[in-house]
Subunit: 548 residues, 2 copies
Amino acid sequence: MQALMMNSQLMISSILKHAERNFPESEIVSVTADNPRHRYTYKNFAKRSRQLANVLEYLGAKFGDRIGTLAWNDYRHLELYYAISGSGMVCHTINPKLFPEQIVYIIKHAQDKVLFVDLLVMPLIEALKSHLSDVSAIVVMTDKAHMPQTSLSNVHCYEELLAAQNDDFEWPEFDEHTASGMCYTSGTTGNPKGVVYSHRSTLLHALAGSLPDVTNASTKETCMPVVPMFHVNAWGIPYASVMVGSKLVMPGPKMADGETLQALIESEGVTYSSGVPTIWLALLDYLDKSKTTLSKLTRVTVGGAACPRSIIERFLTYGTTVVQGWGMTETSPLGTVFSLKRGMDNLSETEMVDLQCKQGRGVFGIEMRIVDENNQELPWDGVAFGALKVKGPWVSSAYYGMSQEPGSEGCPVDEHGWFDTGDVATIDPKGFMQITDRTKDVIKSGGEWVSSIEIENAAVSHPMIAEAAAIGRYHPKWTERPLLVAVLVEGASVSAGEIIEFLTKTLHKWSLPDDVVFVKELPHTATGKLNKLALRKTLEDYQFPNLA
Amino acid sequence: MQALMMNSQLMISSILKHAERNFPESEIVSVTADNPRHRYTYKNFAKRSRQLANVLEYLGAKFGDRIGTLAWNDYRHLELYYAISGSGMVCHTINPKLFPEQIVYIIKHAQDKVLFVDLLVMPLIEALKSHLSDVSAIVVMTDKAHMPQTSLSNVHCYEELLAAQNDDFEWPEFDEHTASGMCYTSGTTGNPKGVVYSHRSTLLHALAGSLPDVTNASTKETCMPVVPMFHVNAWGIPYASVMVGSKLVMPGPKMADGETLQALIESEGVTYSSGVPTIWLALLDYLDKSKTTLSKLTRVTVGGAACPRSIIERFLTYGTTVVQGWGMTETSPLGTVFSLKRGMDNLSETEMVDLQCKQGRGVFGIEMRIVDENNQELPWDGVAFGALKVKGPWVSSAYYGMSQEPGSEGCPVDEHGWFDTGDVATIDPKGFMQITDRTKDVIKSGGEWVSSIEIENAAVSHPMIAEAAAIGRYHPKWTERPLLVAVLVEGASVSAGEIIEFLTKTLHKWSLPDDVVFVKELPHTATGKLNKLALRKTLEDYQFPNLA
């Protein structure tokens, strides 16, 4: 039996319409390349977004076209989010800091029709121009006074285009499963892969992500997304904050600048912010050095990489709570977020920080499970760890232009409909999840899994070890056993036996490495992560000693 | 271009699955006819709901069948909500206090296959048995020890049925537009009309309704829905609270009993409750009389009828904030809810109470407009008032078995896709909506609308007027002009002219009644509301004096 409720489609434009109606006076403050402190209201934001929709039409962009952006967090980028998706086009955010050849690959693969680029990105565009012949127009996100010299013929000025259009525009209504946005994710191997969001997934993510036990988004908050808008849509904040009418503070290109962040937080009264660990280190270092404070900042969401305990503890001294979360480009990104449960009011500071070090608990809408090698579900006991799989309306079913058949090559969804995150995790009885490894790095020993990260964390606590990597190597009896590869601190000297003896204090017997290899340096990826693929290759012929 | 996100359907069963996984230890406390203080955990609640799904199958109920409930707020009713909808059947809640002939009409119209009835409702069922021949089974919601004597042949005991089933049950997945629940609404004329909710509408309502600026539902809350579960699904609390993992306290048949409510609030630590004004009067009177308190109750949501200012002020003395909301059976019900906006931190107590007296501001997901007689939109200036129309994914598109064609007879949606609420309202520049009248009661004078309620409120502030009604009567020049019909207090004597003179202090000239008619009593409906339809009929031949 069918229900008799309106079949209203979930549209991104409905966020803007609601915000304009209900919060016309809410402010958006931005740092841009052409203005260190731009401010306007939702009323103007909504008006300019409609003008921008007319600009897109003027530029010949059509329903379904991909419109690329190479830009930082500011009001013009926000206008693009709404004007592009609201018109039924696809807002394709691109990280300007990728390798130029990756940027070219991504623009070509998505077939971007128009590019909107920050003033600071124009030198890159000039350099890439021979590869951008399929792009019909390039719009520089600035005003006439700041327009750069250019050798490109199809370059426009954002503010000039906008000024030429009126704000008569009716946001169209269409199927909520229509693509609204696109974001490419680059793994350690192969080409970047395109994740395609829908209006439906974006709206559901904004609603579930704003709940009191998730990000607690409210009109009373002043929110500063420091996580870039090209990084999983700034974790959805541009949708959630506008939906609830928060004041928005956008740091533009200044996101790794502790001084700018502190000044914005204090002068604009930021209560809530979000970003990767690196930027918080920059802010905390600046605070320590300058003896300044964060008077109204109640909490920061940290994601993108595991948050070091020291960041949580340092923020605590400034009265700010770290809310760790976990997600991926493919999960929009909210999967888990830290928040206390009933009966946790009386935790000690250490217990609280212990909990904050985990990746948080499940957000409603995301089903989560950990499974063993045979895809059998493992218990939520905080001990068992297995491949983390998720399901839900804001989780990817496929990558752009690749197989949509669950279980097939190139499709990230298994034959039972679960998205394989590539992470290995434990989940404790209270539902708090902790990432323990990447599936490809976990060491499979005698049918048991050993966490490479657990060994590495234990090893670097040895005073003579500067950096460490644990990888699995062939063992005739156990298939694999852990091998520790260590870089010693300058001038140190220690034996493999002494290191292993040291590790017995923290590791289970089963997780102890069978041997330690000392190297001068470890291989890293372009983004600074340990490159275990390269390390395994280097040590391809390694054999454990004392094997009969 | 289609997005590449999982097409996960929004299912009511996903709430239960999430709750069981993430909040197995959360409690549900109930008052029932057979146990004054039953308590168990979500873990048991989920298990018993699966057993109950097997019971439904055992009773021969099929996907799409309507299953009626005549019951109060308790754990068994909650199990029914999830087991029925989760199985793809339709949970049809029926108000046991309706006139018996209405109950019979509703059961027959919905074609209920099985009825689940509270122990206290069994005498009614006995009385109606000759009309219930199409109902295949009647289940009494109690245990064996409390089973009543009955002359009916198809009567079962809830706990006995449950005990015979195991809890192996996989909640099916199906189209989210499938009917999940049904609730009949009775107007002043005609037969009750069936509103049919979907899994989708219910989930979206739960998400949007739980936002910080709406009901702020969280696992840390202890929530007591006093609004009945047969009254628009207890305003959605059985879904929202379980979704976020709140402790639930359910007052069973004791909802108008101030002493029981106070005892539950104090002993169970209720932080949040909801109900119609009448029950709060009962609670407040008990508090005043017994000198007891509400130590943890931070807020109560009030809806179903305009909340008198005195209730807001009296709750304030107990430290509890009244959150007024507006909605209808047809809007699931959330349309507007009170919550402060940015910049409202420094309101005086009077300003705050003034704001609480309005019906609140728009919830994201509901589009709202006020229109004049020509369906032209009116401004949000707090002065203009017009017919309130709404739109959104949890608003009715039609009534069960009636026309689904917008704009046609019997369909509540106009030809532009808006649901006509039948209310007349103002909306102020901050977005706070205030109901000023019902469309059918508003007085249409010379193209302007005059609020009958405004005149009545002004009139009853006269010390000699006990009760008053304002209706529109024919006027040759203005089409209609207001006529005040007043009941004087015992022994009072006053002229029409004196009353009108008195009203000039508060009413605009245009809203002043042209005459006053004194009567001994005013007609009322069965539920105690002024029956203006009858009053207009009685005064059909009335003519204003001094018309040339």
